[in-house]
């Protein structure tokens, strides 16, 4: 197992945002997480990435308990997270946004940097090459020197995926990667996810778009009020009466 959680729990006051969730994610697979608004999907990601501490339970990544690790160390260990809300570095160009994560594994010493010794230029060149490769993969190479504010929503989304890919992660956490995108843009994201899977990445994806989930996921976990209420193949989940009830209940509530 690449990732394993046991009894993972997080309360906010009286709200059980994540309530005793166990999941297992096998290397090289794509797992979907679905559930109504407020079901605890994002909170679950916060716990995995280390942005929130759990009150109970543990998280095992690559066979090692990582509960105590701060987010930046989890990122360095290979957990790459893309947030639900847009999170670009507004004061950095597209290229620099990607370089930030490439710096983590390839950064000359402070001494070298301040004196601008030749090895600084060499490592910068290497990283720029890698960044361009990533941006090319995402179809963004034309906007290298643009600031995020001059990119479209779709381009910013892709940039954030690129930034995380630059960490060279083994696990990718995507929180609603296609929210607010057009049909064609969704298709492109789907392509990207497929290609990443082919490259051997393991992906955990939160989505409301059931069609996307069916297309890309081997397995789906359903959360409701912080609890895991079902798990199985997309087909099984679609025909699970409990899941139907949760979703129908929601449709009913929002339709009235």
């Amino acid at each position: 197992m690449l990732l394993e959680t046991k009894n993972l729990t997080r309360y906010f006051g009286g709200v059980k945002a994540v309530d005793g969730v166990d999941i297992e994610v096998k290397e090289g697979t794509i797992k979907g997480i679905i559930g109504p608004n407020g079901a605890g999907k994002t909170t679950f990601f916060h716990l995995l990435s280390g942005h929130l501490p759990p009150q109970k339970g543990w998280i095992k990544f690559k066979g090692e308990i990582i509960n105590h690790l701060p987010p930046f160390e989890r990122a360095r260990k290979g957990i790459g997270r893309v947030f639900q809300q847009p999170s670009p570095f507004e004061n950095l160009t597209l290229m620099e946004n990607i370089l930030i994560s490439l710096d983590i594994s390839n950064s000359p010493s402070l001494f070298t940097s301040l004196l601008r010794l030749p090895s600084l230029g060499k490592s910068e060149k290497e990283k720029e090459k890698q960044a361009i490769e990533i941006l090319h993969f995402l179809n963004l190479e034309k906007k290298l020197h643009h600031f995020p504010s001059s990119l479209t929503h779709f381009e910013r989304r892709k940039m954030e995926i690129g930034r995380v890919l630059a960490l060279n992660p083994s696990l990718l956490l995507l929180d609603e990667p296609t929210a607010g995108l057009s049909y064609r843009e969704k298709e492109e994201i789907k392509e990207i996810i497929w290609e990443l899977k082919e490259k051997g990445l393991t992906i955990l994806v939160v989505e409301h778009d059931m069609e996307l989930i069916t297309d890309i996921c081997e397995e789906v976990v359903v959360l409701n009020f912080g609890k895991k209420i079902a798990e199985g193949s997309p087909w099984e989940i679609k025909n699970n009466p409990l899941v139907k009830e949760v979703y129908l209940g929601e449709e009913y509530a929002s339709g009235s």
Binding site: S49, H51, A75, F83, F89, L92, I104, P108
Partner: protein, 310 residues
Amino acid sequence: MRKELKGLVIFFGLIFLFPLLVKSPYYIGVLVFWGIYSIITLGLTILMGYAGQISLGQAGFFAVGAYTSGILTTRFGLPPWLGILAGLGLSLLLSLFLALPSLKLKGHYLAMATLGFGEIVHVVLNAWVGVTGGPSGFGEIPALSFLGWKLDSEMSFFYFTWGWVFLFFLFSLSLLKSPYGRALRSLHAEERIPLSLGVNVYFYKVFAFLWAAFYASFAGSLYAHFMTFLSPSSFTLILSILLVLMIVVGGLGNLWGALLGAGILTFLPEILRTFEDFEMLIYGTFLILVMIFLPKGLVSLRRGKVATGD
């Protein structure tokens, strides 16, 4: 980098020509102050303009640099360069003590903590009479010499100071143009974002504090050997605020802004002196007008020409 170097050569060329054209020791003295303040602001802008932190206690590090080298050279007869190094060491240590608890603080709380630091230093300067000379201070600080050249005239000290401004500018520029600079600039965003990308946000915040303290302390030592006299009244909260104003007026997050802001707010009081009663009124109006019409500082007047790291 190339583009900036061209600007640097032109700017410092003009500065270095200044004493040859204007021979008045008074104006050369004012330019020395500009240089000393610039060293502080070139460090402080890394902390405030890039790393997005705040310090209202920078006068404290300026004082530590000034008093450490002043006291060590005057009372203990140590060579000035040792005094300067001791000041830098002490400032780095103190800024580490200040930065570590400040990691948990943001905005107003961070401002208050750093302000508290500046005030504590001020109190110590006043109260530790046996060492600092108390409120009346102490004098007869020996002049610096550099390569056998005694820096006891305005002119010689001018070149020495601005030589250092040039070097400190280059250091800050190199920092910003390196992976360290990128990481510092990423701190501007909400903390969760750089953290999720492996950036050790805590390290960089402390680093920025140390960097700013180092610059301020060095400037303080220069100040001590230029003035040859120190008293606590030169190291008040007003100075800390003035330093922040310099950066803001010049343009936050821009090295040229730090240089320009320090210059304007050093010269303005000198120019306004002729207006006597209206001095403060004009000074205040100027600040307000800059903030209203140029919220990004004076450098925004010539954007594009002065892009330094952003």
